[in-house]
Subunit: 352 residues, 2 copies
Amino acid sequence: MAKQQIKHGANTKEISIEYGIKEADIIDFSSNINPNIPSNLENMLIEALKKANSYPDINYKELRESISNYLDVDSSNIIVGNGASEIIYLLAKGLEKRGAVLNPTFSEYKRALNVANKEVISIYRDKDFKIDMENIKQKIDEFDFLYICNPNNPTSSLDDLKDLIKYFMGKDKILIVDETFMEFCQDNEKTLLPFVKTHKNLIIIKAITKFFGLPGIRVGYGISSNIELLNKLWSIKEPWSVNTFGENICKQVLMDKTYIKKSKEFYAGQINYLYNELRKLPNFKAYEPNTNFILMKSKILKASEIKEKLLLKHNILIRDCSNFDGLDEYYFRVAVKKKQDNEKLIKGLRNL
Amino acid sequence: MAKQQIKHGANTKEISIEYGIKEADIIDFSSNINPNIPSNLENMLIEALKKANSYPDINYKELRESISNYLDVDSSNIIVGNGASEIIYLLAKGLEKRGAVLNPTFSEYKRALNVANKEVISIYRDKDFKIDMENIKQKIDEFDFLYICNPNNPTSSLDDLKDLIKYFMGKDKILIVDETFMEFCQDNEKTLLPFVKTHKNLIIIKAITKFFGLPGIRVGYGISSNIELLNKLWSIKEPWSVNTFGENICKQVLMDKTYIKKSKEFYAGQINYLYNELRKLPNFKAYEPNTNFILMKSKILKASEIKEKLLLKHNILIRDCSNFDGLDEYYFRVAVKKKQDNEKLIKGLRNL
């Protein structure tokens, strides 16, 4: 059968068939989603259903205004899309002409560049997965735009990009920073949002997917004060790509201050808890996390073997990271989930 | 502000601001949507909300199976997308290399070709907006694939394409037939669905948008037995573009036989009623409709003047068709709506 080419985490349906486990029984550590979900969305859904009889607003004016209020960014500096993915692909399509990625990282940047027939320049992080400015400086003449994921997927590393944005100033290069996982961080010190107004060569990507626990609604957005570039992106964007449910749920969850506060507190506790337990395990190295997932390196078994054993014995699904450019077959990633799930993961890994 | 480049009907939000009319008071004849909506979707929404905490199935296996049952087509021959639009754009991107459109027609075919940097070959329908085989034969060496909308938007004309598909046989050309409006027709004689299995150079596009009255959910699909081409489309498709609400609502509405039957009966009556009334108006020519909208040509006032007058006097919004390639500033399009709305339109046009 014809099918998508890239392996991602989270396809619990296929896993359930392959391993003969009931889908609902799978404890999914492979997707980095907030396990909490904003409440009181039911009434809004009925409202959104009434609106499903019309097209969404092709310019998403109200949705952009909600995001504008949430981030305190001018709504004319916002473009919305079907998840962060659509923004990643729009940029690959709209920008000229050589795109760089900082490996190991989220595979969709490279795929978007390939789909757009753009040249892909690979730059690598250092051995601790921090950004190596020298590596970037060395390649600066080889690319026109650079995707950086910060905090980075799958390494959970967080970098201070203020020196990088200064270095980019005056150079004819675009810096794309995917801050999809920034809201899980304990403070917002590292976000480049305050630089959007003054740095026209900066584009920030964000999503509702992860922090609001709603990957199913497919809403993401890009932020830039480069109106010429935004016009270009709108001019090549497919129409109505965010549906009325995404449009309306998004407006509501961005105002849910209780949910935001509760989630921040939840992660403050669970990230540290899970990391401290995982680093005690002798057969693994746990990389220090800055966001809601942890990169692990196994010292004995391969990630594929660990994945299989955890599934068969404990119904636990991890993300084998061997297909990330810059990692090998001993790396895997686990999401930080609710306490009782995290305990099961620790126990499962200990028993291997 | 940065905004979408193409004018479509249906942006009642902007119209309401521009004309100072409450959005809910606008009687929208500009979008060709079934005014009925499938019922009992509320419970399904609550189910879909629970699923919004996961990604949609990246391969949309169950959704394709629902479509497969609805149309009696093999599910491996189906690709789903964010409305028919995504399929239109995927084809423009994935096919080599010169695309033709049959004007006047839906503007997104040309826009998709432009966005994909493909050459656009314009072919024209005859003066009654029927397909002129000679025009196509004359241009056959100039294009590699051809988009045909059947029934055609905005002309509401319906063509028998069986000769065309025979003519394409053995030629290295792809025929894309957008049958989004076929379900509104009184019979299904003209669909090319029975030819999918035997004609690998045929692709049919359909959508949930129009007939099921749900443009807001953004679900469309393409059908072809050309697995090589489908693989190519999946390989360049952006991931998860149909969200969990689209995925789940679609599965439910396709099984709603009562809605389908009721809608067919509704249109059988109202299309004829509205057409018979409109053709009595001395200052207009009404083109014979085959689907749920009617193309009109004004003999005195321009479409833009009619649009303005109908809005200001009657809150009625029509689709000015002057920006369709092949039409001029005297053409406009009206949807077939519920009886009481259709009566208001007739009265409004009579009073002009």
